[in-house]
């Protein structure tokens, strides 16, 4: 199968180069035969790469350990689930995965783009082919990069290394592909942006063509980041979900700039402003996604998460520089064509509040980027590496984040162009009152830390703005059409998916902010306990948890030897239940140990707080165990907030919202409202 796989890689490489060449030439000269040939190349590329992926999966499932990649990431006793996902568990396989998914997205863009946007397609095909060819070149020039997944070993091992136990977690099966899908799908909007620049068709048309694509990559990134947090929380055992590690930051950066874009694009659609800004955001987001791929692979920045240091990083570094130089050069050449059609009229307007929202999002992105690159920058500038960690990122970003949360409430409600005093009163009287009441209520409840108090107060404000919007929309339908309340709500969302889906996303975001506020009250303690002994910890809610060590048990499971320690938990003397935490020593088919022992956290989760128990070690030859007990308030809210964000994204994306009949219905609805109010 490796012969077929290798052949597929080479054919794909040539097809990619051909597709790029004919695409550019065809689009520039307008020759239909070249354009058609390029288009065929995009489809063929996708087909050939799928063959390569199937070849690799076959090698994985056949346990063909003569293939280096198969031997490095799987073993005979690895569960099937993880054998399948080993496709992208390693550096080389993930490159193949990247290229294949990109070619798939490229083919979908060719096939699904609406007829009136087809003028961009030759350039779009050329750009996707070019990027794909870069990824393929990393794999096929293996003598330099050592990144061909089909490379064979000089001998055949009896068994493979198996997969790192920390990756043997369901979150890890879905987290990397989701992030990759997010990173990869930004290439399509980027390709459209480049096509618009190259063809000088810079009206709002290309923005409409990429709307779904930008949402799609934003959605994938959001889900990928949330899954990554979940994996880190349940698997790594340090008791948190976000550590501002360079690799985490790398996924957060394009998410921030894409979020900024999704907002600022509305201003371009409505008012013809911010054309330059929007193009720069798309180009920047794509470069950040390549940058993310670069720092996970290059070892340039020390991270606990990165792939091993390898030459592949230098391929990416070079590509990043050329791509950044090329795209921004083109951007600057075309700047004269990007004149705004309107000016900002008032600071108290939706335009202004969106501008500040963009400034904050891009500001946070700049902070995160600078903090991540600080060791490199300081080494260049002053010769000594200087680093910042989580406290610095929190110190700078928390105030910015809270300001952003405030704009989440202000932006959608304030009038376009220039808000009048009656408009402000009508929209903000209730939310501001609600925000103040919330703040006073939690102050009265005894919470004093300023940031959490502000966060929850603002959450009260934003929640009321969202509730008010839904209420007014539903009430209007109920009055107007006599629809039942629930039906009115359903139709309201279905007919204005972008607007109300957006509110759902905002609701999820405010839930996340509340969760982050809760994280400030994390408390933990460590204890060494003999069976029957117990340790106590006071929860931020005021009650006391007691953990009683029951004992140690040892047993063998599928591919591991397990040492499990169990504690009995009670709250204020009332029994809550049992919690078990494990040390796992993974073994190969003959029972020899592989990898370091890994820790399995015991977690008990509810709406208020998580109990998080880690077995740090067992004193040799005894049942004495060392534990770390952590109380994590409101962690549950992170996962549900993330799900709500994803749900909102899906509502916005759901196809059909823009059909003619619906638009007519909306127009009619608008006329009726006007008639009624007038």
């Amino acid at each position: 199968m490796t012969l077929l796989g290798n052949l597929a890689l080479w054919v794909a490489f040539l097809l990619g180069a051909w597709g790029a060449l004919t695409g550019f030439l065809g689009a520039a000269s307008g020759r239909a035969d070249l354009i058609a040939s390029s288009r065929q190349a995009v489809y063929a590329l996708c087909g050939v790469l799928l063959v390569a992926v199937v070849s690799l999966e076959v090698a994985l499932f056949r346990h063909d350990f003569n293939v280096e990649y198969v031997a490095a990431y799987t073993s005979r006793n690895l569960p099937i689930f993880y054998t399948w996902s080993a496709l992208y568990a390693g550096q080389k396989g993930s490159l193949l995965f990247w290229a294949t998914v990109l070619s798939l997205f490229g083919a979908l863009a060719q096939a699904l783009t609406a007829p009136r946007h087809r003028v961009y397609l030759p350039y779009v095909g050329a750009i996707t082919c070019l990027v794909c060819t870069f990824f393929l070149s990393v794999m096929v020039f293996s003598s330099i990069s050592h990144a061909n997944p089909f490379e064979r070993l000089a001998y055949t091992p009896v068994d493979g290394n198996g997969l790192n136990p920390q990756l043997q977690n369901p979150g890890m099966v879905f987290h990397p592909p989701m992030l990759y899908l997010g990173y990869i799908s930004i290439t399509i909007p980027f390709a459209f942006a480049m096509a618009a620049l190259l063809s000088k068709r810079l009206d709002a048309d290309w923005l409409v063509a990429i709307r779904k694509w930008t949402l799609l990559s934003w959605l994938f990134l959001s889900i990928g980041i949330c899954l990554g947090m979940w994996w880190a929380y349940v698997e790594l055992g340090w008791g948190g979900y976000w550590a501002w590690d360079p690799v985490e930051n790398a996924s957060f950066l394009p998410w921030l700039t894409m979020t900024a874009f999704l907002h600022s694009v509305m201003i371009q659609e409505k008012r013809g402003m911010l054309k330059k800004w929007n193009l720069a955001l798309i180009i920047g987001s794509w470069l950040l996604s390549i940058f993310g791929t670069f720092i996970t692979r290059s070892g340039v920045i020390a991270s606990v998460h990165s792939f091993t240091q390898s030459k592949v990083g230098w391929f990416f570094g070079g590509f990043l520089l050329i791509a950044a130089g090329g795209s921004f050069l083109l951007y600057f050449i075309r700047l004269p064509l990007l004149k705004a059609e309107a000016r900002l009229e008032s600071m108290v307007s939706r335009e202004a509040s969106f501008l500040f929202n963009n400034l904050l999002l891009v500001g946070i992105a700049a902070v995160v980027l600078l903090g991540t690159l600080l060791p490199i920058l300081t080494e260049w500038l002053v010769g000594t590496k200087y680093t910042v960690k989580a406290p610095w990122f929190n110190f700078v970003n928390i105030p910015l984040g809270l300001l952003l949360l405030a704009f989440t409430g202000i932006g959608p409600l304030i009038a376009w162009r220039r808000a009048s005093v009656p408009n402000l009163k009508r929209q903000f009287a209730a939310p501001v009152a609600a925000g103040l009441v919330t703040t006073l209520a939690i102050l009265a409840a005894g919470m004093r830390d300023p940031y959490p108090v502000i966060a929850i107060g603002l959450a009260g404000f934003v929640l009321t703005t969202i509730g008010q919007e839904f209420w007014r929309g539903v009430a209007a339908r109920h009055r107007q059409y006599g629809e039942a309340w629930l039906l009115a709500l359903g139709r309201l969302i279905a007919r204005n998916r972008r607007r109300y889906g957006g509110y759902v996303v905002h609701f999820g975001i405010l839930i996340l902010f509340i969760a982050f506020a809760g994280y400030a009250f994390k408390t933990e303690t460590e204890a060494t306990l003999r069976p029957g002994e117990s340790a106590s910890i006071k929860s931020p809610y005021g009650w006391t948890y007691t953990f009683t060590h029951l004992g140690i048990s040892q047993y063998t499971a599928l591919n591991r030897q397990v040492t499990a320690a169990t504690v009995d938990v009670s709250r204020d003397g009332k029994r809550v239940g049992l919690l078990t935490t494990e040390k796992r020593q993974h073994v190969d088919a003959e029972g020899n140990p592989t990898f370091q022992p890994s820790t399995e956290v015991g977690i008990k989760s509810d709406v208020r707080e998580d109990l998080y128990v880690v077995l740090a070690g067992v004193v040799n030859g005894s049942e004495q165990a060392v534990y770390r007990f952590t109380i994590n308030p409101l962690v549950w809210w992170v996962w549900y907030g993330g799900m709500i964000v994803a749900l909102g994204g899906l509502i916005v994306m759901w196809p059909g919202g823009g059909s003619v009949s619906v638009r007519r219905a909306q127009a009619g609805y608008g006329v009726k409202l006007v008639a009624k109010n007038g």
């Binding site: 997969l163 792939f307 600071m347 000594t384 110190f395």
Partner: protein, 152 residues
């Protein structure tokens, strides 16, 4: 002449509070960017740390004796065979080296799963006058989280 008039007009507008929205936004943007810059700089002063290799650390100490008891992060490799663990007291002692200089480290706390006696580590803490790095945190970088340890 023209420039003069432009500036006096702008100042008048500023004075009368009738700046146009674009200018107000620019002012707001400058304020935000300034605040972010200020936050970043003070943040670095408060929480930034040197990232050193053992050789760089020994040079710093030789050049500047006040360098003891300063928060820093040291990136190095664990010296094979130097690790002693005391599980009951959760204490870990080992040496780190970059090939030329070498320092002992004492850490009280839970070591990460990936820590062993040949791994690359980032040790966070302070070097005391006893010449020992008292670590508050130890990060272990396994070859990578995706790469497995080569079989013996």
């Amino acid at each position: 002449m023209y420039a003069d008039r432009y500036w006096s007009a702008s100042i008048t507008r500023l004075y009368n509070g009738s700046m146009n929205a674009g200018m107000k936004f620019t002012l707001g943007a400058v304020l935000i960017v300034g605040a972010v810059g200020y936050l970043m700089a003070t943040g670095v002063k408060q929480t930034g740390q040197y990232f050193l290799t053992p050789s760089e650390l020994s040079q710093k100490l030789a050049a500047d004796p006040t360098f003891y008891d300063v928060g820093m992060r040291v990136g190095a490799r664990v010296v094979p065979g130097s690790v002693t663990r005391d599980v009951a007291h959760q204490t870990l002692a080992f040496r780190v080296t970059d090939g030329s200089a070498s320092y002992p480290v004492v850490y009280r706390g839970i070591a990460p799963d990936t820590f062993n006696d040949s791994v690359e580590v980032v040790v966070e803490g302070r070097i005391q006058h006893d010449g020992v790095i008292h670590a508050t945190d130890v990060l272990a970088k396994c070859g990578s989280r995706y790469e497995s340890v080569p079989k013996a």
